[in-house]
């Protein structure tokens, strides 16, 4: 069943939902230990009242309203309420430090801000001098705010209540209705600031038409209906959450569940049993790591059973999920038994019992990880998307799932690859432009409406797109061999013990690498091997940890040597960094991608050491704490040399 919008803006769609499925639960939020719920009738009523309330605070067509906080129903409603009045909601990454938030809010000339709690209010107040246009702040949670000056600070609930009162008067009621009807699909629906791996964030402008069309693509592709359930837990400022938890929820009329707190997501997903799941690879990775770590502590019998059935699943699970015929009857019976004993309980643990389709995107996912979930019966797929496309560029159709590609072009999307290997796409979801930045818009959008993705990739014979790296990041070593840093880093990150990796090598004679260990996995390993450590730094510098990581690097080198064109990119030397890379220090983006250039500058002495043959070196680094204070940590870092495997020379066709 294809979902087609009969209304052209999200507030109108909400009004439609209130008519055709008033009693269907629209939002749930676990609060005070109980799932509180609102049906579409309630949501429509609340959003309308919210809009009326915002109007009394002077919000009008074309104004900008910033939203800061985690996934909570009232924050989603504030988007719809702003859109109702023709204002433009701008969700902001709430874990950003005050300065970053100030930049976005000032750039967007935000007049109103809707925030979650005192923490966010304080953050805004700390930079209020840089925000001359900001007039009103609204908050969801009152704790600690009671004694604040409330002339320009308001509780969302009391504003909605006030709006509800106003809507009882005919004049306001019809005025509000008029506002709703004056909106059209061509209006700006939202500005999403991309975290930007380089430079300042850019505001991607999307119209209602863009977002509705993009949401439709996904809804009809995966046959989403109002019976589906999704758990909203990814940053609301991220395009994925906006499409999955807001746009598609409203379009298909399914229920959006908001977790109690970021720490309870796994538990909450289990309670809800979401049917439609979206998660970046690292979330799937964390789930698996936690399970494996726990299994180490299980009784020998359970461990044996677990191993046996996981091996079986690894062998036949994916084939069964794909509906392949060449699986023996015995294996099928055993798989059924495994399902009862291991796979179903595992899926239940992960909260995937009722899952219809799960997506992973944002980063490449390890083939083993991908296969693991598929083999235990989770229909996990990959998609490739961008904020500029309102998500959808390519995705895996059912029955054509492969860990090493991002799938075929999504419906209504045209893709072409230009001569230097960059992927370009055109779709109804393609953005209008960057807010207040025509220069960058012109550089990204071609005259015929295609968008430069900035990613290098190629179509392989089967018609699937394969992304290798950011186009500008693909470099060359001095001997001319190809150096795709992300490709190497991803290979390393597929090991549970390695959390982050940063590869260097462009215009150099060899590839070298920084590595961050995963504290959970390596910490557990250390515990089992009676290795004591007091801090991340100490564990990271431990010789046995180095040995273990060296084994992983060695395996990566071997696999690189066997791949066409990648043999020259084997890692010659590596070191384990003395601190975890952190977005607060600017080393990662808010979506946890490494900012290679920045890291190279920040740790310049370490890079020098990697290339001048030194075996060990001292380094000290400034760190920023979450509240903005700074400190320094210093360490003695060792460097390991690796063995390079001989290469079978085959040229890589098509790639950058």
């Amino acid at each position: 069943m294809a979902v087609t919008a009969r209304e052209d803006t999200f507030p109108k769609l909400i009004a439609l939902n209130a008519q055709i499925r008033p009693a269907r639960t629209a939002f749930r939020h676990k609060d005070f230990g109980i799932w509180q719920s609102w049906n579409w009738h309630d949501v429509h009523e609340n959003v309308r009242a919210f809009a009326a309330g915002l109007q009394t605070l002077g919000l009008k067509r074309g104004d900008k309203l910033a939203i800061l906080g985690s996934n909570r129903p009232r924050l989603y409603w504030s988007m719809a309420a702003a859109q109702w009045l023709g204002a433009i909601p701008i969700p902001v990454y709430s874990d950003s430090v005050a300065e970053e938030i100030a930049y976005v809010l000032a750039h967007a000339e935000v007049t109103h801000a809707v925030v979650q709690d005192q923490e966010q209010v304080d953050k805004l107040l700390s930079v209020i001098d840089q925000l001359p246009t900001l007039v009103h702040i609204l908050y969801d949670k009152e704790r600690g705010l009671r004694d604040y000056d409330h002339t320009r600070l308001h509780a969302i609930d009391s504003l909605i209540e006030q709006g509800r009162e106003l809507c009882r008067q005919d004049a306001t009621s019809s005025a509000i209705e008029h506002e709703l009807q004056s909106g059209s699909g061509a209006d700006l629906a939202i500005i999403l600031y991309t975290s930007g791996t380089t430079g300042r964030p850019k505001g991607v402008m999307l119209t209602h038409d863009n977002v509705v069309k993009a949401a439709e693509i996904g809804c009809s592709f995966d046959k989403l209906t109002d019976n589906d359930e999704i758990l909203a837990y990814l940053p609301i400022a991220w395009v994925g959450d906006h499409i999955f938890s807001y746009a598609q929820g409203i379009l298909a009329g399914f229920c959006v569940n908001c977790p109690e707190s970021p720490e309870t997501v796994v538990e909450d997903r289990r309670e809800i049993g979401s049917t439609y799941v979206f998660a970046p690879p690292r979330i799937f990775e964390n789930l698996l790591t936690l399970t494996m770590v726990r299994m180490e502590d299980a009784s020998p019998l359970k461990r044996k059973m677990f191993r046996y059935f996981l091996d079986l699943a690894n062998r036949v699970g994916e084939k069964i999920l794909n509906g392949d015929a060449d699986v023996s009857a015995l294996d099928r019976i055993l798989y059924g038994l495994g399902n009862a004993l291991v796979y179903a309980p595992l899926r239940n643990r992960f909260g995937f019992t009722k899952i219809k389709v799960g997506y992973t995107a944002g980063e490449a996912i390890g083939p083993e990880l991908f296969r693991f979930y598929r083999s235990i019966g989770v229909n996990l797929k990959q998609l490739y998307g961008q904020t500029e496309a309102a998500v959808y560029v390519t995705m895996h159709p059912d029955g054509e799932i492969r860990a090493d590609t991002v799938g075929r072009p999504a419906p209504q999307i045209e893709i072409r690859i230009d001569e230097n290997g960059e992927v370009l796409y055109r779709s109804p979801g393609v953005f209008v432009g960057y807010y207040k930045d025509d220069e960058k818009t012109a550089a990204t959008k071609t005259s015929d409406g295609f968008v430069r993705s900035g990613d290098a990739g190629f179509f392989e014979p089967g018609g699937h797109l394969k992304i290798i790296d950011r186009a500008k990041d693909v470099g060359r070593l001095t001997d001319g061999s190809l150096f795709p840093p992300k490709y190497i880093e991803n290979k390393l990150k597929f090991y549970a013990n390695i959390k982050e990796a940063v590869a260097f090598g462009d215009h150099r004679n060899a590839v070298t690498c920084f590595i961050n260990i995963d504290l959970v996995a390596v910490g557990n390993w250390a515990e089992r091997h009676n290795i004591t450590y007091a801090s991340y730094q100490e564990l990271a510098g431990h010789p046995l940890v180095y040995d273990m990581i060296a084994r992983h690097v060695d395996e990566v080198n071997r696999s690189l040597s066997m791949e066409p064109g990648m043999g020259g990119a084997q890692i010659q030397r590596f070191l384990i960094l003395h601190k975890e890379l952190d977005a607060d220090d600017g080393e990662l983006t808010r979506t946890q991608k490494v900012r290679r250039g920045f890291i190279a500058e920040r740790y310049a002495p370490l890079i020098v050491a990697l290339y001048d043959g030194t075996r060990e070196t001292d380094v000290s680094t400034e760190v920023t704490f979450e509240d903005g204070r700074k400190g320094t940590i210093s360490a003695h870092v060792h460097i390991r040399d690796m063995k390079i495997y001989p290469v079978t020379p085959t040229p890589l066709e098509n790639a950058a």
Binding site: K30, D31, F32, G33, I34, L125, I128, I137, E142, R143, G144, R146, D147, Y148, D149, T151, R152, L153, E260, S261, E263, T264, E267, F625, E626, D627
Partner: protein, 266 residues
């Protein structure tokens, strides 16, 4: 648009008055002739070097020790001897220097125990967990969930507290004390053994409890920075005697206090 800075504390009524209290264990004098008051709605800090008698003072206030001399007036009622249970019923709750939780019980259950004084249905009804008793329990659960939300410990609701890190255990203990909806909350070194971030969180919670629930708080703390930031007034004890009493600024300037903390040149 800024929060009120340092609101002027009006001369509020006295909630608790300690008058000439002395406490001796045999020949050891823990407290000698100490007098001070705690006003409604304030955060009152009791500070002093190790062995100054701070915990003894708290123990006197909640009736665990009985002063050898002097009296304590709580809510206008003067008394010399009172059992801790009576103090609890009267609206005094406390946390302990060494966390005193039921290690094998979950966070939720631990905080629920804080409600036991407010349960009115008898043992028999509670055992049945039926009808009126169930309804009453639901009511209490609501209060407890409010506290769990307030202290942001939803994720450990079902975790046995023995498994929790120290900082979180302290928070659970604060939660249990709050569950009593006390008028006066006694905190014995709420931040002992915490790192900077945990201390900041705990300070935030203490301030929020004070503002949100209007709870009067008396706290013992060693971290001077915390004490100076949090409290409205400070009383300083040394060797069981009061050596200073006043606002943080006044106390900081007091020569005797400086001497007690930094030592004097001999």
């Amino acid at each position: 648009m800024r929060p009120f800075e340092n609101p002027v504390i009006p001369q509020r009524e006295t909630l608790l008055a300690v008058e000439n209290v002395s406490l001796a264990f045999g020949g050891v004098k823990a407290l000698t002739d100490v007098s001070f008051d705690i006003r409604k709605g304030e955060i009152r800090a009791i500070i002093g070097p190790n062995g100054a008698g701070k915990t003894s003072m708290l123990n006197c206030i909640n009736g665990f020790y009985h002063p050898t001399h002097g009296s304590i007036t709580f809510k206008g009622e003067k008394r010399r001897r009172m059992r801790p249970s009576a103090a609890a019923r009267g609206g005094i709750a406390r946390t302990f220097q060494n966390v005193a939780l039921f290690k094998g019980m979950s966070t939720l259950d631990n905080i629920m125990t804080g409600r036991s004084l407010k349960m009115h249905k008898g043992f028999f009804w509670q055992m049945l967990r039926y009808g009126p008793a169930l309804k009453e329990e639901a009511g209490h659960r609501r209060v407890v969930e409010d506290i769990i939300d307030f202290l942001e410990i939803q994720h450990i609701r079902r975790t046995p507290v023995g498994k929790l890190p120290y900082g979180l255990q302290k928070r659970v203990e604060l939660g249990r004390a709050l569950a009593m909806e006390p008028e006066l909350l006694l905190l014995d070194e709420p931040m002992a053994g915490m790192n900077l971030e945990e201390k900041e969180d705990m300070s935030r919670f203490i301030l929020d409890v004070n503002q949100h629930f209007g709870t009067t708080i008396a706290l013992i703390e060693h971290d001077m920075g915390v004490v100076m930031d949090l409290s409205d007034r400070v009383v300083v004890l040394e060797y069981g005697r009061k050596i200073a009493d006043g606002t943080p600024q006044e106390v900081k300037r007091d020569e005797k206090v400086v001497a007690a903390y930094l030592g004097v040149a001999h």
